[in-house]
């Protein structure tokens, strides 16, 4: 009985998320949500052999899936029959809404059962292998499902994956090494601008994307070393502020590198003193000042990757982009996982927990910290390179402070130092930001225009509702709220790493004290 309540609770949380999605998107999104959330529900309800036998697991999974499916089916009906007409869209017929809902229900039950059965396999090796296989299958077939269901989420999913790479990289610096980096977008910008400069007709250099992406990652890593080195003696919040300063300076630099002319200073001094300008030795931008980044207008167009058989990637065909970024994310996860358990990864944990003790044990703090910055920056470089060639245009305004904070939000929400958590945080925040809020804005706008506004007589109130009731404008508010609430309620994140949780929950004043000083020896 207790198990039943647990199942009900878990699947109801997921069910509510699914129901909201279906209410907003409608159509076959119920089936996609049934598919995704059904699997998730199956996993959360019976993960890692909670039930003794696959048969019991299957039964539990079916129950969970049923609860979830009912949420989805009800939401489908409500969306089709009530929300649509109220928000000014054409209503759909009852059988059609029922069809959407029932498919969602079936998907939820089937996949929850499958996942639950897999999770209840008695052999742990087999269990793990099957889980991975299922997840891999999901990621691979997602674009096809998305296409069949006409939900059109693939573009957003690509963006989510780009940010997943960023969040994984920041997780190295903040989560593993404990260095709060508030200017992480700078490395993203550096990767993107490197790609932009090396593969765009703007400077006349058009190298192949497959080479440029490695150069971008390398440049970002070097930038990580360069920007990281002055911060070495600093700790805690001073470190955060210095990285924030760098994060502000880098976009300003990219914005303003539009007219570069470098004159060798000593010869320039003589030229001024003797009043003979021809003496000055000009190094860069002699005939006309070099326009390196094209300022606010940005670099455009940037070369796209191409492959044999597939040809150059096109902007209207998302599939190759999706698989490329998926490959990059999988590669990042693999690399970071290896890094984490390596000697370097353990050194990061050590300096995070107590820097002095770690250095007393013979860890070279300078190298370890610099490598944390550099490795974190590397993945931002990959993400930047992919981003630049995916969007094919980059502007300095894309890389401002709010991007750094959004990435930080993902890492904190998911759980500092835990990759699964970070990926979850990324999906939640980016999904909310890029998928839900725009759709919510659209539905609300339709709702206001058709249902609310005609019934309001007061013109001031009407004007207020029409312009101020915009969820997209509330983005910053929501991010801020997530940060504050998470810090107070659950500083270790949704899926905490056990070690990090112990640190953050510690009441031991010594731990706090070691974070409290500003400057080490």
């Amino acid at each position: 009985m207790q198990n039943f309540w647990k199942a009900l609770r878990a699947s109801s949380i997921l069910g509510a998320i699914g129901a909201v999605t279906v209410l907003l998107f409608g159509g076959w999104s119920s089936a996609v949500m049934g598919w995704l959330l059904g699997t998730a529900a199956g996993y959360t309800n019976s993960h890692d052999g909670l039930w003794p036998k696959p048969k019991i697991g299957a039964q539990m999974g079916a129950k969970t899936g049923l609860i979830l499916g009912i949420w989805l089916a009800v939401a489908s009906l409500v969306e089709g029959l009530i929300v649509r007409p109220l928000s000014g869209q054409t209503a759909i017929s009852f059988p059609q809404a029922l069809q959407y809902g029932l498919l969602g229900l079936v998907m939820a039950v089937v996949w929850s059962t499958v996942m639950s059965t897999i999770q209840s396999l008695t052999d742990p090796v087999q269990r793990r292998r099957m889980t991975w296989l299922l997840m891999a299958l999901f990621l691979v077939v997602f674009p096809m499902v998305d296409q069949r269901a006409a939900t059109g989420w693939i573009a957003t999913v690509i963006q989510i994956l780009i940010f997943a790479m960023l969040a994984l990289g920041l997780n190295i610096t903040v989560g593993y090494a404990g260095l709060l980096d508030l200017g992480y977008a700078a490395f993203f910008a550096i990767g993107a601008y490197t790609t932009g400069m090396l593969s765009s007709p703007h400077l006349g250099i058009e190298w192949n994307f497959w080479i440029v992406i490695w150069i971008a990652a390398a440049v970002a890593a070097i930038a990580g070393l360069v920007l990281g080195s002055p911060t070495l003696p600093l700790r805690g919040d001073y470190l955060a502020i210095v990285t924030l300063g760098f994060g502000e300076i880098v976009p300003i630099v990219f914005r303003n590198l539009t007219a570069i002319r470098i004159v060798e200073p000593i010869s320039g001094l003589f030229a001024t003193l003797l009043n003979r300008p021809e003496l000055a030795i000009c190094l860069v931008g002699c005939e006309e000042p070099l326009n390196l980044t094209n300022g606010e207008a940005g670099i455009n167009p940037i070369g796209r990757p191409s492959l044999p058989f597939l040809g150059t990637f096109r902007s209207d065909n998302y599939l190759p982009w999706y698989y490329l970024v998926l490959l990059l994310v999988v590669f990042s996860v693999f690399m970071i996982n290896r890094l984490r358990v390596s000697r370097l990864g353990r050194a990061w944990t050590a300096i995070r927990e107590d820097e002095l003790a770690a250095s007393a044990m013979g860890i070279n703090r300078v190298n370890v910290k610099l490598l944390a910055f550099a490795m974190g920056a590397t993945f931002a470089g990959f993400a930047g390179a992919f981003y630049a060639s995916y969007i094919t245009a980059i502007f300095p305004s894309v890389f401002d402070f709010s991007v750094s904070v959004i990435i930080l939000c993902m890492v904190i929400l998911g759980g500092l130092g835990n990759m699964a958590g970070v990926l979850l945080g990324c999906v939640i925040i980016m999904g909310a930001d890029r998928l839900f809020l725009p759709q919510l804005a659209q539905v609300l706008k339709g709702f206001l225009n058709t249902t609310v506004l005609p019934n309001i007589a007061n013109p001031a109130l009407r004007d207020f509702l029409a312009i101020s009731f915009d969820p997209i404008q509330m983005r910053l508010f929501l991010f801020g709220l997530v940060l504050v609430v998470m810090m107070i309620v659950r500083p270790e994140g949704l899926v905490p790493s056990a070690r990090r949780k112990a640190e953050l929950r510690s009441e031991d004043p010594v731990v706090n004290e070691s974070l409290a000083d500003v400057r080490s020896v």
């Binding site: 300003i252 101020s468 504050v484 107070i488």
Partner: protein, 358 residues
């Protein structure tokens, strides 16, 4: 490092600054020429820098007070000042003030705006402390910092929302995110010329009023902290929170008082900046906050005199950079200074050395 190595290192740094500086506007021959051509422009810029610096100093005081007491970089402080500007604009708009309204009729609206802005910001700051920072008092240092960043985002969004209330506050203009024009209420009588001194330096009564108000605020704060018992309690808590508790001080109340004063100063700064620059925008808090924080760090964070000095220096730096380097690079220069100070002298100009605690 041997002395000659140091000299070579410094020469190399100077060489690189001279080599790459011109990209960011640091072109010494041109700057010297410009200064030689019109010295009065330099003095005008110094005055502008002084006044902006005084406003920055008021914001920096909020940072420094809070940091001195609970060692928290109150990231939301800059955005609080922005909200102060919006509150002041709302009040001034409610009185129907417009550009060029007679000074006499504008005095009362401005005083009310000062009270409302300062009161609102003080209240908000206290609420923030109560609900966003106090629960994290004993958490690791980064937790309240992240919470403060979150509050900064929330305040910024509130500013955006406030700016969109055109249906209730007409003075906000049509677009929520656009800069709002603040009515020009202070008289602009050129002081030097009306005194009969013939000079090209511009210094009007408007500049004087803003400067005087800023200085009065700073001096009275300094007096309050040095001479009243509440100020003494603040200093005691800043020095050693546990010891202050032992001698019977209500630490929570002292902290609330600190946030109250810091918030009120931020609100006053919001009004002053509106009156002086005649434009406010919801994103101004972030940049101003960073500048003020730089000022606080430059002067030695936790040190009240230091914050004032740092504010003036940063104001001068940005005014001179706007004029002689390049206004597009000013922020980069200011943040560059911030990074340099934190790296080379984190205790600031007037701060005492912070020792390693283990």
């Amino acid at each position: 490092m041997k002395p000659w190595q140091k000299i070579v290192l410094y020469l190399a740094i100077v060489y690189f600054v001279l080599l790459l500086g011109p990209i960011a506007g640091l072109d010494l021959p041109r700057i010297l020429k410009e200064i030689a051509q019109s010295p009065s422009l330099l003095i005008t810029q110094l005055l502008v820098g002084l006044i902006n610096g005084a406003i920055i100093a008021i914001i920096a005081l909020g940072y420094t007070l809070v940091y001195g007491i609970i060692e928290l970089i109150n990231f939301a402080h800059g955005d609080l000042y922005m909200l102060g500007g919006f509150a002041a604009l709302t009040v001034v708009g409610a009185f129907g003030m417009q550009d060029g309204a007679p000074f006499i009729s504008a005095i009362i609206p401005m005083l009310v705006a000062l009270l409302v802005a300062a009161g609102m910001c003080a209240g908000l700051n206290v609420l923030t402390e109560r609900y966003a920072y106090r629960p994290l008092r004993n958490a690791p240092r980064l937790a309240p910092l992240i919470s403060a960043i979150g509050m900064s985002f929330i305040f910024q969004n509130l500013g955006l929302f406030w700016g969109g209330l055109r249906s209730f506050i007409p003075i906000m203009g049509n677009t929520a995110a656009a800069p709002k024009s603040f009515p020009d209420l202070l008289p602009r009588i050129d002081i030097f010329r009306s005194l009969g001194i013939d000079t090209k330096v511009d210094f009007t009564t408007k500049d004087l009023i803003v400067l005087v108000v800023a200085v009065v605020l700073m001096v009275s704060l300094n007096w309050f902290v040095q001479n009243t018992s509440a100020g003494k309690a603040m200093r005691a808590v800043a020095q050693n929170r546990d010891a202050a508790k032992i001698v019977g001080l209500d630490v929570d109340r002292v902290i609330v008082l600190t946030f109250l004063i810091g918030g009120a100063l931020a609100g006053a700064a919001g009004l002053l900046v509106g009156l002086y620059n005649n434009t406010i925008v919801f994103t101004m808090g972030f940049t101003a906050g960073l500048r003020a924080f730089t000022a606080a760090v430059l002067g030695g964070i936790g040190n009240i005199t230091g914050a004032m000095l740092g504010g003036v220096l940063i104001g001068l730096l940005s005014a001179l950079s706007d004029q002689y380097l390049s206004s597009r690079w000013t922020d980069a220069w200011v943040f560059g200074v911030l990074v340099l100070i934190l790296v080379f002298r984190p205790s600031g100009l007037l701060g005492e050395n912070l020792q390693e605690k283990v």
